[in-house]
Structure formats: C-alpha cells, structure tokens
C-alpha cells in the first residue's frame, strides 16, 4: 500500500439540486440511468479506472448535495480536488444562474493554489428534454468569461457526450495535478508524477 503505482484524480461535481449530478456520475461509471435515484444527502462517491494518454488513472468522483446550504459542508469534499465539474439543467434557467455561486464557493472552500487556473468543466445536462432555456451560445459565453472553461452538452439519460465530457475532465484534472504535485503531499499514498506528459487542456470538448 505504501507505493501503489496509481494516479488518483479527485473530481467534484457541483450544481443545483436535480440537475443530474448523480445521474451523470452513474451514467459514466456504471453506464446506466434510472429515474429512481434518491436525492443525494451529504455526498456520494464513485470511482472509475480509465486510460488517459496511455496512463491508467483512477477517477474519484464526488457527487454532492445540490442545495445551497450544503455548500458549507463542502470543505471536506472539495479539498484536494483536481477538477471541478459544474452542472446545470439546460431546461432550468435558475440552475444556470447559480453557476457563479457554485464556482466562487468552490474556490473559497477548496482554496486551490492558483484559483484563476484551477480547471473547471461545465456540463449542460438534460439536452434530451424540451424546451431549452439556456442556449449553447449563452453557456459558451459564460465559459469564455471564466478563462475558457471547456463546455459539454450532455444527456445522462441517453448517455450523450458523457464519456467525452469525463475524458476531458480527466485530462484537465491530470494537467492540474501535474502542475501542482505539492498539493498532494498530504495524501501519503500519492505518487510523485515526474515524467508525465501534460495533455492539452480542453481537447476533445465541443467548443
């Protein structure tokens, strides 16, 4: 256990309640969708092994409660995150408006070393539903205003774009981890990343 050859990427999924955080995570990890998920209380968590640029990494995905007041409990989950996935419901304008608050709160609680460079990925979920309330253009504009966050439009229900989105998330997380190795010294089982190629940020996204 002392020196596992394993790269762990910690990813946090944030967004208003019922935008589909748990469904996205389950679609990606278990490739299944059900309408019968319970509301997430506190935090949920799944892991998935994947290969990024010929490297096997384990993605630790933290699913959180979407209600605003749960943000104050975030500290324990947010700390040490390599990437933050923001999710909104393309049919619910309010869930889009909350993005700024989620992002700011995350940066405050996770206190990454370089807040302006911390990788976020935005997912506009439920594209299978009508009517659309938030256009791709509007979402992309928001992303551009936030230092070019990669944006994906997904449907957790139909598995649309989920794989690609999480691959981008993994790459961004890996790039972040490579750039801030020191941050992980608090995790004893982390290995030092010395000879890793930095994947190009945001590649494979639909921007």
């Amino acid at each position: 256990m002392a020196s596992r050859k394993k790269t762990l990427l910690k990813v946090i999924i944030l967004g208003d309640s019922s935008v589909g955080k748990t469904s996205l995570m389950n679609q990606y990890v278990n490739r299944k969708f059900t309408n019968q998920y319970k509301a997430t209380i506190g935090a949920d968590f799944l892991t998935k092994e994947l290969t990024v640029d010929d490297r096997t990494v384990t993605m630790q995905i933290w699913d959180t409660a979407g209600q605003e007041r749960f943000q104050s409990l975030g500290v324990a989950f947010y700390r040490g995150a390599d990437c933050c996935v923001l999710v909104f419901d393309v049919t619910a304008p309010n869930t889009f408006k909350s993005l700024d608050s989620w992002r700011d709160e995350f940066l405050i609680q996770a206190s990454p070393r370089e807040p302006e460079n911390f990788p976020f990925v935005l997912l506009g979920n439920k594209v299978d539903l009508e009517p659309r309330a938030i256009s791709s253009k509007r979402a992309q504009q928001w992303c551009q205003s936030k230092n070019n966050i990669p944006y994906f439009e997904t449907s957790a229900k139909e598995g649309l774009n989920v794989e690609q989105a999480f691959m981008a998330i993994a790459k961004n997380a890996l790039a972040q981890q490579n750039s801030t190795v020191d941050l992980y010294n608090e995790f004893p089982d982390q290995i030092k990343l010395t000879n890793t190629q930095k994947p190009s940020g945001g590649s494979g996204c639909c921007q």
Binding site: S18, N35, I41, R69, F70, L73
Partner: protein
C-alpha cells in the same frame, strides 16, 4: 412505531394550503427522489408523493427560517408511512423543535457540524485506532456520517432498521444516533482499518449497511453499549462553538485579506504597469540624453573650431585692418603724389604752353623783325636814293647857288649823314639781335626734342616780356 416496510395509504386528514411556498420548486424536485423505490411514493403525482409534498411544503411555511432542507423529506416519508399528513406534520414539527433537527436543517447547518465534531471526538475516545486510520487517510467524519444525522439513518439503512432507530430517537433523542453510529463503526472497524479512503467510502456505502442489516438486534444491542456522556457532549459543544466562532472570525479575516490581496494585486499590477512605463521613459530619456550629449559634444567641437576660426579671423581682420590702414595711408600718399604729379604735369603743360606761346611770339617777332628789316632796307634804299638825289641837287645847287645854299646844304648833309649813321647802328644792332634770336630758337628746338617735358626753367622767360624788351629797343 410499527416497522412496516410497505404500509397502506392512510385515509386521514389531508394538509392542503393555497399559500405558495418559496421552496415549492425545490421541494417538488426532490419528491420523486425520496424513497423512489417505495411502493407508496414511487407513483408519479400519486398520493404518497402528494402527501410528501404537502407536509414538506406546510413545514416550509410553518418554519420560514428552515424552509426546506434536503434530507428532511426522508424523515417526513418515514412518518407518512405510519400516519396521515396532519399527524406527520405535527410529529415533524416536534422532531424539528425538540430533537435538535431544526438546527440541523437551518441554512447554516451548524448542528450538523457540531454533531460531526462530537462524533469525531467520540470515535477518537472509543475507537482511537480507527480514528488514527481516518486521520491518516484524511477521511473526514462528514464523509460518511452526515447523512446518518441528516436523515436519521433512513437513507443508510433499510426501512425496518430506520423505523426502529426512529422509535428510539423519539424516546431518547440524538443520543441514539451517536450510539448507532459508534456501533456501526465498531462493526466495521477491522475492515475499515485495512482500507484506504476510497475503499472505506465504498465500504460505508455497501458492505457496512449490509452487515448491520444482517443482525438488527445485534446492532441495536451494540449501540446501547456505546458510551455516551451527556456532560462530555456539552463540553464538546462549547469547544465546538469556540472553534466555530474562531473559524468564522478567521473566515471573515480571510475574506477581508482576500479582498485586500485582490486590491493589492490590482495595485501591484497598476504599479508594475507604471513602473514599466517609467522604465520605458527612463530608457528613452537616457537614449535622448546620450543623443543630446553627442550633439552637445559635436556642437562643442564645432564651437571650438568656430572659436579658433574666430580668433584667426579676428587676427586676420586686425591684419587686414592694419593693411587697410596702411593701404589707405598709401592711397592717401599716392593721391597726394598723384595730385602733386598732376600739378606738376599741369605746371609743365602750362610751362610748355607758355613756351609755345613764347615760340609763337618769337616767330611773330621774327617775322616782324624781318619785315622791319625789309622796311629798313627799303628805307635805306630810299634814303640812298635820296642821298643820291640830294648830292645831285647839291651839285646842281653848287653850281647855281654856290654860297648860301652850299652852307645850307652842307648843314643838311651833316644831319642826313648822322641819321644814316644812327640807322646803320640800329640795323647792326637788329641784325645782331636776330642772330641771337635764331640761335636761341635753334637751341630751344633742340632742347625740346631731347626733353620735351623737362625743359629748363631758365628759358621760360615770358615772350611778352621779351617782346616788350625788343619793342623798347627798336623804338
């Protein structure tokens, strides 16, 4: 409370309110996600879901401060499995107000934090090995226990187990939640100790609930044996309040510092920009100064050259001035000499003129003299002829009138002879004079040829004077 898993819908009092709750939308979103697999609640917009919605909404209106908090729906659902809406609402209000749950669901969720702190301390005290393992794995209490406290195990364990715990909870309060939590940890301790964070999380999700469910009685018995010191809990609460207050202060300070940092960074950026601009200006200034210095050097050199030239020029000017002075002097002299020479020339010309005039006079005089000579010759001839006549007459007279007339004639003869002598004398004198003049003329001509300009002053006797002298002599 009966621990039935699937109770029939109640036909009791329904809660129906026309008042809109600000939380309605949020509540609505969670309705289908509360016991989604339970028969009573799984039908979309069915009685179960409606009842759930009504009770939760009623509570959100009853307690505006708490409103609706995710997690409370599971407690309401559990109650609705046992009783109609109105009663469930009454029990919910009681649970909220008298069993610390209100504080648990308040927007700050402070009570949850406190419970986590208390549980952590209990674990540290009763399961020190496990606590150490958690610490080493950075495994925070809230990662596994927050839902236990927020939903009173309704989301973690099966409904029968949850119902049993709820019964104890209603009689003993939060204490049982801590005890069950400790019992669960005790149950899974050995396995948890061998897992990393990821493994532990999975264990808490699946294996541990299953293990607890396998023998509910054992779990409850284990729970009852867990030590729970109310005093100690009170003390921990105080500690937590202090920590939390400090944390909040730090947070405020942090926020302030962040703000300050942001401002300072902005200022720093501005100053850097200014510095860049200044450095740029400095470089430009230095360059222009160097250029100016170069120009100055060149100008200085030119100035030196000019000064030198100026000196030379001044010197030359002085020389030139001197020269001019000397030249002007010379010029004056020349002027004077020229004037004098002009005067001389004029004088000489005058002399020449005089001389020419004299020559003219002399010629004229010569002509006159010759003319007189001729006249005199004529006169002489005339006189001779008269002498001859007179001699003839005398002869005749001597013959006719010898006495008287002879004497008279003799007298007359003497006078004529005297006059003749005089005429001869003057003739002789004139001849001499003509010769002299001829000589003089010849000499003059000769002199004039040799020195036309510088003719002697000695011969410059005015002709008029000469003429005058001669006239006097001849008369």
């Amino acid at each position: 409370m009966g621990a039935q898993g699937n109770p029939p819908p109640f036909q009791g009092h329904r809660l129906a309110t026309a008042t809109k709750s600000p939380c309605e939308k949020v509540i609505r979103r969670d309705i289908a996600r509360t016991y989604p697999e339970h028969e009573f609640f799984k039908e979309k917009d069915g009685l179960g879901q409606e009842s759930l919605f009504n009770v939760i909404k009623a509570y959100s209106l009853h307690d505006r401060e708490v409103g609706y908090c995710q997690g409370s729906g599971f407690i309401v659902g559990l109650l609705l499995m046992q009783m109609p809406e109105e009663e469930a609402f009454a029990v919910l209000v009681k649970i909220m107000e008298d069993y610390r749950m209100r504080d648990m669901f308040k927007p700050t969720m402070a009570e949850l934090g406190l419970c986590m702190y208390q549980l952590e301390n209990l674990v540290a005290e009763q399961l020190p090995d496990l606590n150490q393992h958690f610490q080493s794995q950075n495994f925070h209490t809230s990662m596994y226990a927050s839902s236990w406290f927020l939903t009173l195990f309704t989301t973690a364990l099966s409904l029968p187990m949850a119902c049993r715990i709820m019964d104890v909870f209603l009689s003993e309060g939060m204490e049982i939640i801590f005890k069950v939590a400790l019992a669960m940890l005790t149950l899974g301790k050995e396995e948890l100790m061998s897992l990393d964070m990821e493994g532990m999380l999975k264990y808490f999700q699946k294996e541990l609930p299953a293990r607890a469910e396998s023998d509910p009685e054992a779990l409850m018995q284990l729970a009852y044996t867990m030590k729970y010191n109310a005093k100690k809990m009170k003390k921990l609460e105080k500690e937590y309040v202090v920590i939390k207050t400090k944390e909040q202060e730090e947070m405020a300070e942090l926020k302030r510092l962040r703000q300050e940092n942001k401002q300072l960074r902005h200022r720093c950026e501005m100053l850097e920009e200014e510095s860049r601009a200044l450095a740029d200006r400095l470089v430009k200034g230095q360059v222009s100064r160097a250029e100016e210095e170069e120009t100055t050097f060149v100008v200085q050199r030119e100035l030196d050259v000019l000064r030198h030239t100026h000196l030379e020029t001044t010197h030359q000017l002085a020389l030139a001035n001197e020269k001019i002075r000397s030249l002007s002097l010379m010029m004056e002299e020349t002027q004077t000499s020229r004037q004098s020479s002009i005067e001389e020339i004029t004088l000489k010309q005058e002399q020449l003129q005089q001389r020419e005039e004299m020559i003219e006079c002399l010629q004229e005089e010569l002509v006159k003299v010759r003319l007189r000579e001729a006249e005199n010759d004529a006169l002489i001839r005339d006189l001779r002829s008269r002498i001859h006549e007179l001699e003839e007459d005398k002869k005749t007279l001597r013959e006719i009138t010898p006495d008287n007339s002879v004497a008279h004639l003799q007298e007359e003869l003497i006078a004529v002879k005297l006059r003749e002598a005089e005429a001869n004398l003057s003739l002789k004198d004139l001849r001499h004079r003509v010769t002299e003049l001829s000589n003089q003329w010849q000499r003059h001509l000769q002199e004039h040829k040799q020195e036309p300009v510088n003719s002697g002053e000695a011969h410059s006797t005015p002709k008029k004077l000469l003429l005058w002298n001669w006239r006097l002599k001849f008369k």
